[in-house]
Every structure is written in structure tokens, then in C-alpha cells.
Symmetry: C2
């Protein structure tokens, strides 16, 4: 009886993830082995591998052989190959991706989510194209004008600061930033179980008088919601963990993220160069190896791969274009977590709640009236 019930539950919670196997800098040699790793790790996952079926089949066979060599059990029936005849390259414009590659692996993966055949999709394809295609195929949620890219950035508290937008929208209005605040809060509620996430606006000073006009107006609009808005934070607060959610436009967010990646890489390089500079320093590096390895793993940005495209009628995760197998697997894992923790349902409910609150409490809120 117990066994029957367990089987029944297992049936219920299968997570179906569509993988754009062709996207990203590396494509198949990264995406398929990463999918196999996830299948090994989670028996509840079913992976829809989207791409040229001959090439995907071959890559899957190789990856399964590789996995069996390492004595890791993985079921072939955890995979379904879905054919797509085209590939959106990293250089393709949004225009090309949207109008001229209607059978791209990226688009087919998004369509599987749209048609209810997948619970989420993952792609390492170029950001602009993925955003445009996802938006076209899936459409935005009610009350959301523009989807945003969100990810958790590691902070000093050993947790993650969720930051959005990271590059989907370069010209934002105050209303867009308000929507990002709502979506970011819903994301943290869903994925981290924080009841009232602290939401902040990224600014160049904590005082309300600082910042550009859009940010000042956005602060006003966010104050009119029922979010736990703590006001402005500065760039270094992202790493202090001052807020659960840090909101900014996509231009600023993308620059901040890449700046952080750049300096982290430089510092890592400097540390290595110092330890390699003399016989004595090399010796001390050997002695300090366990400590240095642990540190390297902590700052390894592959462990933080995978950003959510929020505000769509379906779950889409974006992997870093240059992701390797380890990093790509992390992105798939995040997509799985999002499904398991019912991100979509909770985001919709969160947005609905706030819209209701606005309508009830503040008729002067133009944004709410518009909806």
C-alpha cells in the first residue's frame, strides 16, 4: 500500500524541463552531459532535449556511456528528444531570432512550456533573443509590461541577494521598476520561503533625494505597494545582504554584474600570481592548498549560474552563454527548484495580491488603476 502511494506521489511530482541543447557558446557538448548529470541527481526529472535530433541522439548516447563508465545509474527514459531544425547563434539579432528562425531550438523549448508539455525551459542562448522569443511565445503575466532577468548573487551572510533586472530592459520607467520589485519579492517568497522579503532600490546614495528621476519616482510607486520596501541601497549593499531583493534597470544591473565578475576574476588572478611568484610562495601555496581550494570553490561563479526570466506565463531560465557542464547543470537545477517550489503559481498570486491591495488601498496609484 505504501509503495503504491509512493509511486502515485512520484507520478505527481515529475518535473519536465525543456533544454535548448543547441544554444550558448558550446552547445551540445555542454548541454547534454549537464542534462544527464541532472537526471542522475534527480529521479523526479524528465528532460526534453531540444535540437537537431540526430546530433542530440548522438550526444545523449555518448553522455550516457560516459555516465555508465562512472557507474552512475541513469535511465534513458528520463529523456525525450524533440527536434528543432534551426539554432539561434550568439550573434543573431532579436529580429533574426524572432522572424527568421521560427523552428529554433530556443523557440521550440519555449513552446513546450507554452503547450504544457514542459514545466520550465533552460537556454544558454543569447539573452536578447531568449527574452524576445520567450516573451513572444509565452506572453507576459497580467500587470507585467516587461519581463526581467533575476538571479541570486552571493552575499556576506552566506546567502543570496536577488537582483533584477540584469539586462533584459535597458530603458526602464518607474512603473517597470515597480513591477520588478513585485516580481523579485514573489521570487524570494517562493524560492527561499521568506515571508516579507526586504526590497530595495539600487541607487547612488541612501538618501531619498539622491539618484536619477526614474529611481526617485520608482521609490514613490513602490512605497504605494504592500511590499516590505526598505528604500535605497548602494552597490556594495548587494554583497552586504542589506536587502533580499535589489531592483534596478537592466543597463545598471548588467554593468554591476559584469563589473563584479571582472574584479572577482582579477583578484583571483592576483592571488594566484602572488602564490606563484617565488619558490617560497609556491611552497606556502602547497601548504595552504586545502584552504585555497575551499576559497576557490566559494568564489567559483559557475556555482551561481542560472537566472530566471520573470514575468512570463511560464518558467524560463537563462544560463551564462559560456557555461561549462558544471555551470549548466546548476542552471537546470535552479529551474527544477523553481518548478518544485511552485514559483509560477506563487509569482502570479503575489502579483495578484499586490494589485488587489493597490486597488483597495490607494486609488491614486496610476499604475494600479491602469491594470
Amino acid at each position: 500500500m505504501l509503495q503504491v502511494q509512493a509511486l502515485f506521489l512520484y507520478d505527481l511530482i515529475v518535473v519536465r524541463i525543456a533544454i535548448d541543447c543547441m544554444g550558448g557558446d558550446h552547445g551540445l557538448p555542454v548541454t547534454v552531459p549537464a542534462a544527464v548529470q541532472i537526471a542522475q541527481r534527480y529521479a523526479d526529472v524528465h528532460l526534453l532535449l531540444v535540437g537537431d535530433e540526430v546530433q542530440v541522439e548522438q550526444a545523449l548516447k555518448q553522455a550516457l556511456v560516459q555516465a555508465s563508465k562512472q557507474a552512475k545509474t541513469v535511465q534513458r527514459d528520463q529523456f525525450t528528444i524533440v527536434h528543432a531544425s534551426e539554432v539561434v547563434t550568439m550573434e543573431d539579432s532579436v529580429e533574426v531570432a524572432l522572424r527568421h528562425k521560427k523552428d529554433s531550438s530556443m523557440r521550440v523549448a519555449a513552446r513546450l512550456v507554452k503547450d504544457g508539455q514542459a514545466d520550465a525551459c533552460v537556454s544558454a542562448g543569447n539573452t536578447g533573443a531568449l527574452m524576445a522569443v520567450s516573451r513572444f511565445v509565452l506572453k507576459t503575466l497580467p500587470g507585467i509590461d516587461r519581463p526581467a532577468i533575476a538571479t541570486a548573487i552571493p552575499n556576506q551572510l552566506g546567502k543570496g541577494t536577488t537582483m533584477l533586472d540584469l539586462g533584459a530592459n535597458v530603458d526602464c520607467t518607474a512603473e517597470h521598476l515597480q513591477q520588478f520589485a513585485i516580481m523579485g519579492s514573489a521570487l524570494v517568497q517562493a524560492l527561499e520561503g521568506v515571508e516579507r522579503p526586504k526590497v530595495a532600490l539600487l541607487n547612488i546614495g541612501e538618501e531619498a533625494i539622491k539618484g536619477n528621476e526614474v529611481v526617485k519616482q520608482a521609490a514613490e510607486l513602490i512605497r504605494q505597494t504592500n511590499l516590505n520596501f526598505i528604500g535605497n541601497v548602494e552597490g556594495d549593499d548587494i554583497f552586504k545582504g542589506t536587502a533580499h531583493v535589489v531592483v534596478c534597470d537592466g543597463f545598471v544591473g548588467n554593468v554591476a554584474l559584469k563589473t563584479a565578475e571582472g574584479i572577482a576574476k582579477m583578484i583571483g588572478g592576483m592571488l594566484k600570481a602572488n602564490f606563484m611568484s617565488s619558490f617560497y610562495s609556491k611552497l606556502s601555496a602547497l601548504i595552504a592548498k586545502p584552504v585555497l581550494n575551499k576559497f576557490r570553490d566559494q568564489v567559483d561563479n559557475r556555482r551561481y549560474n542560472g537566472a530566471a526570466l520573470l514575468g512570463l506565463r511560464g518558467i524560463v531560465f537563462k544560463s551564462h552563454g559560456s557555461a561549462d557542464i558544471l555551470a549548466y547543470a546548476v542552471a537546470i537545477e535552479r529551474a527544477r527548484e523553481a518548478v518544485v517550489s511552485q514559483l509560477q503559481e506563487k509569482t502570479v498570486a503575489g502579483i495578484e495580491n499586490i494589485r488587489k491591495e493597490c486597488n483597495l488601498n490607494d486609488a491614486s496609484n496610476a499604475r494600479c488603476e491602469d491594470n
Copy 2:
């Protein structure tokens, strides 16, 4: 004869720097000892210490006693105290600084530059106030609408990437960004002796189609100058040293700078925590101490303190508000270098040159026509 000539030259190159002794988080206990350090280091420097004369006199006496204890020779006649009855606090608004504190140490220091009594001034006071006061007292250079804050950020090449604006202007037009490009290029020419500095626009992708509207227009305008414009760079390029000068609006620049500071601090903290986590790791830290100390010094952001306020009719340097003695001395040192290398003259000439070029070569350049 040789001695007479040397004395004569010495007379010629005395660098007079006005110090806002009251500004910053710490004020006198930091600014005055830092000034004394600089006087010790450079016999060619004369320091005008601006602030409450009783308090400054006392602080100077103490700092000189302290210096003599360390057997460092320093001449009292390298200092002149200039009284100012008011202080602009870190919380004061631009309005207060500008209209209600007309005898602030910040303003008196700027006035000394304006009146030709000082070759440069340095302040750790609040950025908005310093910018407004400097602009009011000194005025902007011909062809420059808005001054910008510029500093050299350490890069992988072991050099510095000059970045501007870092927070003076939160809402910029394409024309402002063009002016920043011109000023940044002139700064690098003057301070680093690079003949044709590579100038880039900070963007979220290298492709010309990426970025927001202002940045796209700015690229067009910069292309119309005779600058060595290499196009767009991304956040991580700051640290790769892809360009000598990276141009952005003050909002983006300030967020990028503080984000970089934030993650650098976090990484430093993580490294330390790892080395302090167990008996073995502490032992290995002891062995690796020379390497770790050298690394710590390299990433010590105090060594990079001091940003230039470019575009004014006089040299103004801004120190970090929280600077300690070491950091504040670095900012004074930078101001001295700027004077010695004739930053002001070269910047004026650089801007003039480009304006002439524009007028000669491209009558359709609206910006140039306006000037």
C-alpha cells in the same frame, strides 16, 4: 652656481595645495596628519590648511610633534593655516552647502584655487556639495556643461583604467558623455603621457546595437571627434584594461565602483575567514603570511584614493569620505601629480583641440556648432 640654479628651479615648481581640513567622516585627525606626511615626502609642496584656525593649529602642532618623534624632518613653513568658520557635513544638502555655508572650509579651499593662491584643492567632504561648490566657485571650462568625477581603477595590466563619471551627474545626455570622453582622454594624456588614449563607452554588449538610447547617441557623437574611440566595452573590461578611458553616466559609474568595492571586500573577508577556520589553516596562513600581506597591499583600495573633478577652471580632488591618513595622503599626492604634470593646461588644450577639429572637419556635428 649650480646651487643657485637649483634654488631658482625649486622656487618655480612649488606646488600649493589647499586642504579642506574639516571635511569627510573624520576631519582634522585624518586630514592634518596626512598633510604633514605629504610635506615630509615632497619638499616642493606648500599646504594651505583650511578650517577653524584654532583647531587646525592644534592638530598641526600635534601632527608635527608626532612626525618629529619618528625623526622625520618637516618644515613648519610648508604650512599656512587659512581660517574658515563653517563646515559642510556629510549630511548637508547641496542647497545648504551652496547657500547657507558661504564660509565653509570646502568653499574657502575652492576659492583659494580660484584666486590663484593654490594650484589645487583636496576635500573628503560630501560629493554632491563639493561638486556644486567647486562648480559655483570655479566655473566650468569652455565647451564643458558639467564637470565629472574621474579616477583610475586598477586593472589586470598592473595599470589604471580611468573611469568617469563616478557620481557627479545622474541624468546625462549623449553630449555630456561626449564631453566626459574628451576630458577623460585629456586626463590620461596629461597624467600618464599616453599620446592617444583608447576611449570606450561602458555598455551591456560590445555590439553597436546594444545599450540604451543615450549611449547609442553618445557613440555617434564620440565618433565625430578625433578621439581614439574603440567603441563599447562591458563591466568586466574595466579590469581587463581594454581601454584607457571608460565613459559612463554618474549613476552607472557610481554603482559600478561601489559594486566593485563591495565584492572586493567580501572576497577579502572570505579569504580571511577560510584562513582562520581551523588550526591547520591558521598555521598555513602564518607560513603564507608574506604572500598574503603583499596581496592585501595590492588590493588595498586606500592606495587608489583620490578622484579628479574634471571640467572646472581649477584642479579639485575628492577623497573618499571615510579615508584614513594613508588614503587621504594618497589623494593629496594625486593632486600634486596633477599640478606637476600640468593637468589643467593640458586638459584645456585637449578640449580646445577637439573643438577646433570638430569645427574644421565636421560642420554637421551639432555639439561642435553649439560651442
